[in-house]
């Protein structure tokens, strides 16, 4: 099939499946819902694989309804965008298979609602990754948001899911409206909603304050979705309370779509003359990325709630992705794309394994579970492997992505690779520490610290009705397969080459414009080959070894009292900022927008 026919299908198939499930789900038996959902998710994956095959390493476009780009909506698939949509589709398929027997509820009138919402979520994500139109991106953004809010609050009987879902929805929707204000300002200036055409129109102007403000406002929603500090507060709360399959999707790909959106909007609209100068973007976003990575790593290390721990590790990795994209080089984009693919699979696998713990013991608390999961040997091994993958151990995809991004970052600022190594070591170490305590019972049982601001993982509402049944075989199997996929991202020979070309395409403004307007695309410059290098392997091994050392030290050694006091006095204020109050989070959002405006004004 032609790429232009496949592009709309990638959005329409999951939408159709969701509508079908919502309408006839209550009449179907449970198996029927599962089969329908799995078939739809599988069809979407096939559709995107065919699309990537048909498009090759070039761009495919579809002008919906036959309207030209300045009137209608254009869908554009380049290797990075379509690849991200494929990652979303693969994770959705994994999640649907994972949750086959996970929920015995919902039943009765609400059967089929959960998979329908998951498919709606998928449609939003693929649409967002493939659209070439700013307002259309906003609509898909809200579609994926609304589905995610509803999924987060899926357990409406419990207090905490309601709290987490409300915070998530209020902060994200507010940011989306800020973004819409930015889109309106851009439209007022350019008269265009198409990304490429708006960029071309901006290039004839002289920039100025309105353009900068429009860029900051449009970025707000994307940075909130990407959970960049100080817009990140909703993410750990939402992840702590969302059902495990939803966490797999949110951490695995939804958050990364925010980074993708920021990069796409910057490159296609604001990168040219009359936009936002590249040196300002590079400085501001590298700073944002590094701060996010460090804050995420510190907070991750101090969690005992396993889902919150993984959520903060996502924040910290997002910081690295933002840093990679902010380099504004094809190599940075390629490295980040590889890193996102490897990280998405590994993180989804880790959440899946945490779901096994929740299913068996009704708790995700590192302290409470100490030594209790000794019987789940295979799950323990997989958990440790996931931790090592997170730390960037070669030959996992995370390792390759980290190596490529590190090398690209090191050519600009020699100290940036140290941030990559440190952050991946700390986040990997936190996971390994938890694995050692939960699955091996290593070290003394940690004492609870009631005076500290923290969320325990105990007293969770079980996600299943009868905790005495056998463990569904799909749960560990899907997690193992996801880890294998993460390994494949790092070892499959063609992928790094294809994404290398994808990075070139992504950073090629003129080519994007030509593809959208239907004129001949300029030929691609020779793309650099990105593959494993000696230094990349060495740094990957270094961060994995550091992670193991840190985890062992945390489990076995007792820090001297003076040292603990100093650390606590530094970290406790940071932890207090994560107050769970939606008013505080809105205030931080406002501060963040104002700070971004000030930073771009200072660097003009």
């Amino acid at each position: 099939m032609q790429a232009s026919a496949l592009l709309p299908l990638a959005v329409a198939v999951p939408l159709l499946g969701a509508a079908l499930l919502a309408v006839i789900g209550r009449r179907l038996p449970r198996v029927g819902c599962d089969v329908l959902a799995t078939a739809t998710a599988g069809a979407t994956v096939c559709c995107l694989v065919l699309l990537l095959g048909a498009g090759g390493t070039g761009r495919a476009t579809a002008h919906l309804g036959g309207w030209p780009a300045d009137i209608g909506i254009v869908l554009v698939a380049d290797p990075v965008g379509a690849g991200l949509a494929l990652l979303a589709a693969v994770l959705v398929l994994a999640v649907i298979v994972y949750s086959w027997r996970y929920f015995d509820e919902p039943s009765g009138q609400h059967a089929g609602v959960f998979p329908a919402l998951i498919l709606l979520f998928e449609a939003g994500m693929t649409g967002f990754a493939l659209t070439g139109d700013l307002f259309n991106a906003f609509v898909f953004f809200e579609l994926m948001g609304t589905a995610a809010y509803a999924l987060t609050g899926h357990h409406v009987e419990d207090r905490r899911p309601l709290h987490g879902a409300l915070t998530f929805a209020i902060v994200n929707s507010l940011a989306a409206y800020c973004s819409l204000l930015g889109i309106a300002m851009l439209y007022a200036r350019t008269g265009q909603l198409n990304l490429a055409l708006a960029g071309r129109s901006l290039a004839t102007g002289h920039g100025g304050v309105p353009v900068t403000v429009a860029f900051v406002l449009i970025s707000t929603a994307l940075l909130v979705k990407a959970a960049v500090v100080p817009f990140h507060f909703w993410l750990p709360d939402a992840h702590a309370v969302a059902p495990t399959p939803v966490c797999m999707l949110m951490s695995g790909v939804m958050v990364e779509l925010g980074v993708y959106g920021t990069a796409r909007v910057y490159w296609t609209v604001f990168a040219g003359p009359g936009g936002v100068p590249p040196h300002a973007f590079r400085t501001v976003f590298t700073a944002l990325g590094v701060i996010t990575a460090l804050v995420g790593a510190v907070m991750c290390w101090h969690q005992r709630h396993l889902k919150r721990l993984l959520a903060f590790s996502t924040i910290s990795h997002v910081g690295l992705f933002v840093t990679g994209v902010a380099l504004l080089t094809p190599a940075g984009v390629t490295g980040t794309a590889l890193y996102v693919a490897g990280h998405g699979c590994a993180k989804a696998a880790l959440f899946g394994l945490t779901g096994v713990l929740l299913d068996r013991y009704g708790s995700v608390d590192e302290y409470g579970l100490h030594g209790r999961a000794r019987g789940l040997r295979l799950v323990g091994v997989l958990y440790a492997v996931g931790g090592l993958a997170l730390a960037g151990l070669p030959p996992f995809g995370t390792g390759l992505g980290k190596a490529v991004a590190e090398e690209a970052a090191g050519t600009w600022q020699p100290w940036l690779p140290a941030v990559f190594v440190l952050v991946s070591a700390v986040t990997g170490a936190a996971v390994l520490r938890a694995a050692a305590r939960v699955f091996l019972g290593a070290g003394p049982r940690p004492q609870p610290r009631p005076h500290e601001p923290e969320t325990t993982g105990e007293g969770e509402e079980p996600e299943i009705r009868s905790p005495r049944r056998a463990l569904p075989a799909t749960m560990p199997t899907v997690s193992a397969l996801l880890l294998l996929l993460s390994l494949l991202v790092g070892t499959a020979p063609g992928l790094a080459v294809a994404l290398g070309r994808g990075g070139e395409r992504f950073t090629d403004r003129q080519g994007y414009l030509a593809a959208v307007t239907g004129t001949a695309e300029p030929a691609l410059r020779g793309a650099a080959e990105h593959t494993w290098t000696g230094s990349g392997i060495a740094l990957g091994l270094l961060s994995a070894a550091l992670a193991c050392l840190l985890a062992a030290a945390a489990v076995r050694l007792r820090a001297p009292a003076g040292f603990s006091r100093v650390v606590a006095s530094a970290v406790t204020p940071l932890r207090r900022l994560h107050s769970g109050l939606v008013g505080d989070y809105v205030a931080w959002l406002t501060v963040g927008v104002a700070a971004l405006c000030a930073a771009f004004a200072a660097l003009r």
Partner: protein, 116 residues
């Protein structure tokens, strides 16, 4: 100066909404403030498409080109925006209702289960 007025009005509405959300003690009020924030986007969109002396872009009784019309694109956008906003507001109010039913509170500052 007149050209900037809708932009200033939209910015002011956004600030009012932000203030309300930061200080809110009732989730229904918070959701209302979110709706105010959204209304600022309507003002901004319609302001961006306004033409002085323009009429509605409906060509059943005016010939195209005979007199200026306001930009129909932003009106379509505002309409979509209304739909999106209605969905989000409905969902948020449903969650708030559920919270009131199960836990007897709608004060966002009483929700302290998630921190650190």
């Amino acid at each position: 100066m007149n050209g900037f007025l809708p932009f200033l009005a939209a910015g002011w509405m956004l600030l009012v909404a932000l203030y309300g959300m930061v200080t809110s003690r009732n989730l229904v009020h918070t959701v209302g403030c979110l709706a105010v924030a959204q209304s600022s986007t309507y003002v901004m969109l319609l302001g961006a498409g306004y033409r002085r002396g323009g009429t509605a872009p409906v060509f059943s009784d005016t010939a195209p080109g005979s007199r200026p019309v306001v930009d129909p694109v932003v009106q379509a956008l505002a309409l979509t925006d209304v739909v999106v906003g209605a969905t989000v507001t409905a969902l948020l109010l449903a969650l708030t209702l559920q919270l009131r039913k199960r836990h007897g509170t709608v004060d966002p500052q009483a929700l302290t289960g998630l921190k650190g």
